[in-house]
Subunit: 366 residues, 4 copies
């Protein structure tokens, strides 16, 4: 079944496998004339790479991007971009066992059923979080397009292993501080607590989850389409592309279910000649359209499924109960590395919605 | 911008307005031979209609469906179905004021910007929750298709105004009891408490929100597509079509962010010759594919924005601050009426994913 | 299989059957603010209706269009338009026989296989040329959008039953004279010869075909997309939506295959400050993009398959040879009635390509 | 504008440029389990490469294909295939002049307008016939899928420079003889005459066109979708992807416009327990659906626009008249090299339509 392209105006086609030749992405819809270099994309890819932190996977791909098409003399041409990253450092032996003994929490079992055993199971194949390399590459171009129009997309870690940030930071704080520590948490002390929790879990062969928040600023009102292509439906959809995401909420989110209408409604005022909402429980989206306020979305990440504890599974050949011990190189918490991925995906949605409005991609003639 | 069709294999095209001639939906992709009558669809539409409860809107549309195409001699033909409901009972006068003074929490303001003032603002136009009539009609056909293949979709109210159900019901309990009270809550006593909360808010001119859960049973493993058309991404997207939804989560959802991997992973065992997960923190979805367990999703609904209290707004003609008092006929809580809508949308996603697998629409020859 | 929507920016969704409740079309993508009335659409539908000519079908549908959505206060709203025409005057008895004895040249046999007998066979169902009612309605809106931007689409009959027009008319002649006779032929004397040929065939229980040419003027250069959405690929595709079309060619068309490159290339010159091609063998399209010259396309129509002669067929129940005599009300030549259909389809393609360029739908504010 | 993916079930995404890093194609929708090697694709690419014939371009790309994703242990995995060919042998200097002085008959002028000068003009960029490398690669996979289901696609040259084949060959003759000479003409003597005509034109600095026919056998009845995705609309659309195609016709084609209905209708008979049409004026397609007869389509190719004669053009910088002499390496006739391209495109359409029917991609389990 065809399923590897997404978007209406900024179309991303993803290919590759975790232990195949590499990960690639075709970006269709980028207007001509945008200055773009491999360095622009590399910067974002580097943010996604594992850190030297003890809880980070020891698979150290350099993730060097190659622009295979769509750029000429330093600018986009209007033709599709193909961005490709070769896989270099992978070890597939560990995965032979999972071919028949599906890892709990991973896609192994349903993938086996769906592809009748023909899928590339190594490293999780197309279900690997390594596929997010392509998302980040596509998002890097989107962020560049948005940036030229004054639109910023900023994510940060707001919760890990139950440790939450103490207060909601301003956008400026997020922009300046999110990448100041490996946790991508604006509060350095909270970051330390988060790290402790991760290391503790790791020492027990276990993993932890958390929550990432993303704020988009500068989005004018009226962006989005009603119902089927509402901005919230699209952002939610894209965030669920990340394998570990189990929940998405906007503005007051699940908490809004406990508010009164009079508490939850965001009243309007004219400020500086513009319509402004005095609160932002809506997370910047009303009826699926942006209302000019910052777009605010949060995604919940489950703890990584690759734990170093003996687990119950089955053997798909014999259809008998079995035990499994996962070996390999994994993150004990994916939340920090997910921060740039969340930004990339939100940027892709915004590019998709803004492109037909003629706001993006209007550079000076060469 | 084109935005009124959704789906890949079960494509729903929505048209109409709250105070226009009616609401219609074209369903493309339904296989030939499915027995289908207007009654089949009417049953579902009736579940969505306002109840006689005091907190329910007094707009009493009969919502009688007309099949305009696609059925011949009592069965679907394979040609597109057009299902149409005439609007009959609406009053547009109240909305004249909102044309220039946008209601907080509604789409009025961004819609005005997007459509440059040309949109049909009456009753919210295409942003009205009345558009869910089309979703329920499309879902009715989907449920019928799924039902023939042994797949059931059951939603129920799990929380209103902070009042939560006491314990997680079984699927059988949901199926039997969800529609036994107007709150669509399996626990009758909890339903009474919920009702009290709604009435109390209503008496103060206010509104309340809540949470709906939906369980889909009988979905075989391996349904869904990786990443861009993962089952969770698609279900989340569809649930955000409902104007009031602000959050969506699967299985353990946001709570999963606080679990350890060893707690969150669902271990496998062979039971009755089948692979079964012993817990369902995944909500039936791994890597975007069904794993054979019940699919479990929850959606958070904000309190309705139409409150009967004076609110701050602006006048879009003069660009000055203004006050607003909403009049009209509204629900004080949409959660109970949203239950069949949630079912319809989840059914549409499942039909969309199951159709190419050849499981649906294999009736006996005529 | 989903197949009833077409277009990327001007999306047309078609539903209905020849002998069902009616024919409808949903048009998605029309920008807000376009003045539009039922009369605007009716004018085009009337051009498609059968004439009083002896060779025209005696089924006399009034084809009165109803705008079910998308227009408010005389202008489009930006929401999808639903245009619906009730069927009123049809007789289905004659078709019972064809259910099992497929008519040569019609879709009866492959439709029976595809839909496993569940399709609405009456009047050809969705394979009826009556479905072109929806195309003409959708095209009427497109023509209005194009007209506001100075783009005209003009078709005319250039050949019927081997009788060809004597010389290529100018666009002005086509615009003024094409609808001056029932044959939609610019040359009145040629039209008479064509009519004689049709009547002669009819008197022998037979039918004839012909060729329609369509010219689009005012299309600026650079419209179209390379390769997969080239203007010629899209126009050709749309013209093949008409059941009787068996060939499509642009500019010099098949004759270009017999020219030398030096004869076929259209040399450029600057005329009045604009780039102009001195000849138009390309039919206004180079590399799939408009080059600023009139777009010129021709479609070949086969003779109608419904002849009043005994024909060889089979009985699908017994799988034995059979004979068939078609009875009913049919055109002896569809070419004249196809002229507005060709215009409508070319207009839909142009709207689809021009909409994202921001040229269409820029009316004054209300 | 997004435009580089095509298909519904067998989706081809094309990227690359004539003088960029290479040409690539992503194929989405190929089912898992199909045996596939680079050699399988190379065989088809080699058929498209220039021959040693005097009239063939002297650009000698080896066109070696790399499978970058989607194949594991010699079989497709169900994940998208990326097929990539590096460009190696190109000379871009000659094209600098065309950047401002558009070549008649080429896309230079409209491309300049569309992309505002930012496109990669070298070698025609994305408008180059070199993009057909990707089509042939995608078609190679499609042919393999079709071949496993007993469906064959066979093209051959039927006319060059006015020289036509003397009689219609059988499918067996096409299959066996089409590639027996560089002209891809079944009749060896006719091929010689064609070659003479090409060489004569070449000696005069000129070029010639021609006609390719393609026959698809083994397609069961009922394949295709009515109207918008009719088999003829889709095949016509795909053939117009080839830059030089100016006309497409099915079965009797334009000649059908001159037949009577009684001559054009293909009568049915039961032969060997199957419904068979005694003639094939329909070209195997009725109402957009296959009728079980061989699908027969012809495409008219204009003579290549790159002639070695002085031509009139303009200078886009000064907007003044100019002259142009094309230099470089070109084919004097593209028809022979187009034969495998036509096959590839028809194969892609058939794969697109057959995949949801469950006929393709049912190999034995590994």
């Amino acid at each position: 079944m065809v399923s590897n392209s997404i978007g209406r105006n900024y179309v991303v086609t993803l290919f590759g496998e975790s232990h195949g030749k590499g990960i690639g992405v075709v970006v269709d819809g980028c207007p001509p004339g945008l200055p773009l270099s491999e360095e622009d994309i590399q910067t974002e890819l580097n943010r996604r790479r594992p850190t030297s932190a003890a809880y980070s996977t020891s698979r150290r791909e350099e993730d060097k991007v190659n622009i295979l098409s769509g750029v000429f003399q330093g600018r986009t041409t209007g033709a599709p971009l193909c961005l490709f990253v070769w896989n270099k450092e992978y070890r597939s032996e560990a995965y032979e066992e999972f071919r028949w003994k599906p890892r709990p929490g991973h896609a192994d079992y349903p993938a086996f059923v769906k592809y009748r055993g023909f899928h590339d199971h190594r490293g999780g194949g197309i279900f690997s979080s390594r596929m997010t390399v392509g998302m980040v590459a596509a998002g890097a171009v989107a962020k560049r397009l948005l940036g030229e129009a004054g639109i910023g997309v900023y994510a940060h870690t707001v919760e890990i292993a139950g440790v939450k940030i103490r207060s909601q930071p301003t956008v400026e704080e997020i922009r300046e501080k999110a990448y100041s520590n490996p946790l991508r948490c604006v509060e350095s002390q909270t970051a330390e607590e988060m790290e402790k929790k991760i290391l503790q879990a790791k020492s027990e062969g276990d993993t932890v989850g958390g929550v990432v928040e993303c704020i988009a600023t500068g989005v004018p009102p009226g962006v989005g389409d009603p119902i089927f292509y509402s901005l919230d439906a699209d952002i939610a959809k894209y965030l669920f592309f990340i394998p570990a995401v189990k929940g998405v909420e906007f503005g007051a989110g699940f908490q809004a279910a406990r508010l009164r209408g009079s508490e939850n409604n965001d009243p309007y005022r004219v400020v500086g000649g513009k319509v402004v909402a005095l609160t932002n429980n809506a997370g910047g989206i009303l009826g699926g359209l942006s209302n000019g306020m910052p777009i605010a979305v949060r995604a919940a990440f489950k703890p990584p499924s690759s734990i170093f504890k003996r687990q119950k599974t089955v053997d798909l050949r014999t259809m008998e109960d079995a035990e499994l011990e996962v070996k390999g190189r994994y993150d004990s918490c994916v939340v920090p590395r997910a921060v740039p991925i969340v930004e990339a995906l939100v940027a892709c949605v915004l590019a998709d919605h803004l492109l037909p409005l003629g706001i993006l991609g209007k550079p000076a003639e060469s």
